[in-house]
Subunit: 543 residues, 2 copies
């Protein structure tokens, strides 16, 4: 059988656009003489549809789209994903389903059994797990075990579910497994997927055809990388990362096997962030980005990524110097813009800082300057950037990194503003790594930006290290606490200083109120701030 894997970039709720894309790929697969074309999970409505699933109108539109697509399935079969109403009296009102379309109509529907409900996933919020008997699908003389994403995941090391649908499906002696997925990127995910899919192939002794979504939906970046795993557990075919792709695989005459490995994490993160920016703008109908360029590494890297995502002509960096800005900050920023070949603007915040200071003076009387005056500068910058955004239709990019977001080293309504946070899931040490990766292919970011000590430049001679531990050690502890959920005693057992651990954990936990109001953050790690990490604002734990 010739199977086409159609890895597409959908837009949530865009039934017209998604249907057109699917039908185009069906035509394309027909031209390639495929017997079956497979699309990702919830392809018809886009993933994740979130609470749109609670609207009857949304479900009805999705059902209509599936019927429209089915009519195109003559001379070829297709598998698409869509929500379906649960006809039972009890239980959640929907299933997360896969439709088998052939002969111009819906031939079969199967429902997802294992519903991820952790990190960024909320599938129990909407869906009932499948409770119907399992059956394979017969097509072109083959028996197909059709599964949806997490359905194959209970063979992982830490089984989250008491059931395993493949244990039932294997009883019908399927010839291969098809898995339709919407599995978002993080730097370790492709490797993990390959392990889990290989374990399934080996355990059940049949090949696995895995079709993933591609494209970003706000914070989630679907990386594609769809693949075929042979019955002996080897990944021999893989589709592109971060791009739409369509590939056919003939089970009778499989391609010459070549073992495919995961690209380096830093390259994946780079490409993920570029796609994340591009899709946020493209799918929201925006073209132009603005950002404040401080002379530091975070805004420099954000600018480079933005120009790669949107084109240099669509990105406006603005220098917003104050009395505390060093000369090199301006020089370095200008050099960066020159390297990128883009125009910049410069607006001093001095007069606004003075005027607002005078307005506040009667109330502040003779109180000494403190964090107030530092935040004031950051907020004036935000006011100027947002005014330009409003006047010209730019979207403000946030340039904060994950280390800052973690410990609350940033000004709410100041440098924490923006429509999208590009680096909010990249620790400061990762920001350096990513910048060096970019420069390794030709210097773009001036070397002095990479070597000078980080500073917010909000008071004379300020350096990040005045307020924070060195980023090397800070990032280690943050990653162990945030990504790996290590508590204080575990961290101390690993040799970290008790006072340092307590201080950092307290900073993280008492900054929850700030993170609540920050823009969506492009997710590239297994545990990003945002929808995947839900902590109380009001609480008294490690704080």
């Amino acid at each position: 059988m010739k199977i086409a894997l159609a890895q597409l970039n959908f837009l949530v709720g865009d039934f017209t656009g998604n249907t057109r894309k699917i039908i185009d790929s069906i035509s394309r697969a027909k031209e390639l003489s495929a017997d079956l074309v497979v699309f990702p999970e919830l392809s018809v409505c886009g993933y994740p549809p979130r609470d749109f699933l609670e609207f009857d109108d949304f479900i009805k539109k999705s059902e209509d789209a599936v019927r429209t697509i089915a009519r195109e399935c003559t001379g070829i079969a297709a598998i698409v994903g869509a929500p379906t109403p649960n006809p039972a009296e009890k239980g959640k009102p929907l299933y997360n389903s896969a439709f088998f379309l052939a002969g111009g109509r819906i031939m079969d529907v199967i429902h997802k059994t294992l519903l991820p409900n952790y990190d960024v996933f909320d599938e129990y919020r909407y869906f009932e797990p499948n409770r119907l008997p399992y059956k394979t699908i017969e097509h072109g003389g083959s028996r197909i075990a059709l599964t949806i994403c997490e359905d194959l995941w209970n063979l992982a090391d830490d089984p989250l579910y008491v059931r395993n649908p493949m244990e039932e499906l294997i009883k019908s002696a399927p010839d291969f497994i098809i898995n339709i997925a919407a599995s978002p990127f993080h730097y370790g995910q492709d490797k993990h997927r390959k392990e889990v899919l290989a374990r399934n192939a080996e355990t059940y002794g049949i090949p696995v055809f895995y079709v993933n979504s591609v494209g970003a939906q706000t914070e989630l970046i679907f990386d594609g990388g769809s693949m075929v795993v042979t019955a002996d557990g080897r990944v021999t075919t893989q589709l592109k990362f971060f791009e739409e792709d369509l590939l056919t695989y003939d089970t009778e005459t499989p391609p010459v096997a070549q073992l495919i490995r995961t690209p380096p994490a830093i390259a994946l993160i780079h490409d993920a962030l570029v796609l994340g920016i591009r899709d946020y703008f493209g799918k929201m109908g925006f073209r132009k980005a603005i950002l404040g360029l401080s002379g530091g590494i975070d805004s420099a890297l954000t600018l480079v990524l933005a120009t790669r995502a949107l084109g240099p002509e669509h990105v406006l960096p603005v220098l917003l110097p104050s009395r505390f800005s060093s000369a090199h900050s301006i020089d370095d920023s200008v050099e960066l813009c020159k390297n990128l070949g883009i125009r910049y603007e410069m607006i001093s915040i001095e007069s606004a800082f003075e005027t607002l200071g005078s307005s506040l003076n009667p109330l502040f009387s003779k109180m000494p300057p403190d964090i107030t005056e530092e935040n004031l500068q950051a907020r004036i910058r935000a006011v100027i950037l947002m005014a330009l955004s409003n006047k010209f239709g730019y979207i403000l990019l946030n340039t904060s990194n994950k280390s800052e977001a973690a410990v609350g080293y940033g000004t709410l309504y100041g440098d924490m503003c923006g429509g999208l946070s590009v680096l909010g899931d990249v620790y400061k040490t990762g920001v350096y790594e990513l910048s060096r990766y970019i420069n390794s292919k030709g210097v773009v970011i001036p070397e002095q930006i990479l070597t000078k000590p980080p500073s917010a430049e909000l008071r004379p001679g300020q350096q990040d290290s005045d307020s924070l531990p060195e980023y090397g050690i800070l990032d280690q502890i943050l990653e162990l606490y945030i990504e790996h959920r290590k508590g204080p005693s575990e961290l101390m057992d690993m040799g970290y200083d008790e006072n340092l651990v307590r201080r950092i954990l307290r900073l993280v936990n008492t900054s929850e109120y700030k993170r609540y109001q920050t823009p969506p953050i492009l997710r590239v790690s297994p545990k990003a701030f945002g929808m995947g990490r839900r902590l109380p604002i009001v609480g008294r734990y490690l704080s």
Copy 2:
């Protein structure tokens, strides 16, 4: 048997404080000769603990606390709620459990079966549903069917679960049901609870003892209102709303039955908001609030509620007039402050508006004023308020209402700032209703604030009705769309104008990016913006 219902206000993660409160109530119940004292769901760690549940350290601290409490249970039994590890190899790592403590030790543990995972609830994220055989608990010659919150809820009209634990428990012929709960307030919830609990009492022919939490945890306001429902389904005893309370009920000599009805919704909403503010500040360790007083009804109402929650001496209203502020706005604000007996401050935004205008002028060149200049005023106000907040330790209260939040009629990083949104779940029409309710007990809010047409006063002669439909009709459509999930065709079938419906739904759906960055909103309706309503920012549906 003499049962004490202990309705307490816990703080998430405060094991020391929560344990002390529980032990104090055990002593108190002993003094009242109770045989059993019952505490709410997850009382030991507070509800909702959210992702703190993913930390082994958190679970360990909770287990220690249960053992400490157990040692106090001599001469009396107690029921407390806490998470427990799931010892099975597969499934989620935790149960949501109820401990039966007696004789100084843990006598029994039961686990919650029905795990709410909708609206503000995420229990499948953490917990495995009970799969163990059901058993009643024997104490003092009675058999108790011990259940946890949602466990009784499958008798509602729309059963969300395929199981019903009471169907199993009733086989052991229990004498009564105990239900420990953490059920957050909305204006219809007490009535709904009474119906569901009555249906359980009648269906199984035994009384129900219901113990709810009280107190706010950021956006969720637990209203208490614990109750006893007799076997014939009548609510004859109810504890206080919005306050801690402890009451004993002797099953041998029940109190004289008197039917208890739910107080009017408007009174409940008022009390909920006051408690919501008070607990946010109290539990975060803050005392003082600041807010911008515009002369409009939203900031006036927020100010009144804040003074009731924190005391008038702890609230600072700031008038921030511009060239567009009308004289009556200032007069009305001053009169309100006089009525409340509080001091206010006034800082003109004119000089900052001019200076920032000059700074921006070279880039704006000769472009005409538009929304940019309106937003600029709102953002300057926020900068001033946040500077006062930083300098003096005030927390900024957000004064936006739900109608504005819904349609995006507000300035991000301007009037949408704040640590807590007081009225973000109250539609504009509800803001008027609540203000009149307050004035009905003696005029506090000047009448002209209630009668003048709403205006943002950001350009000459501006009125809300220039940009928005009349609030009367707007709020109807918003409530049908947001609270009742009616789609466009359903709304048109109800007689609403198609263009109006499409315009309003588009405004709501394209404002998701703004709401993502707003402060937590005190929840008083069945569907508040925030954690209970999760819509994509990037999407193309009704937009």
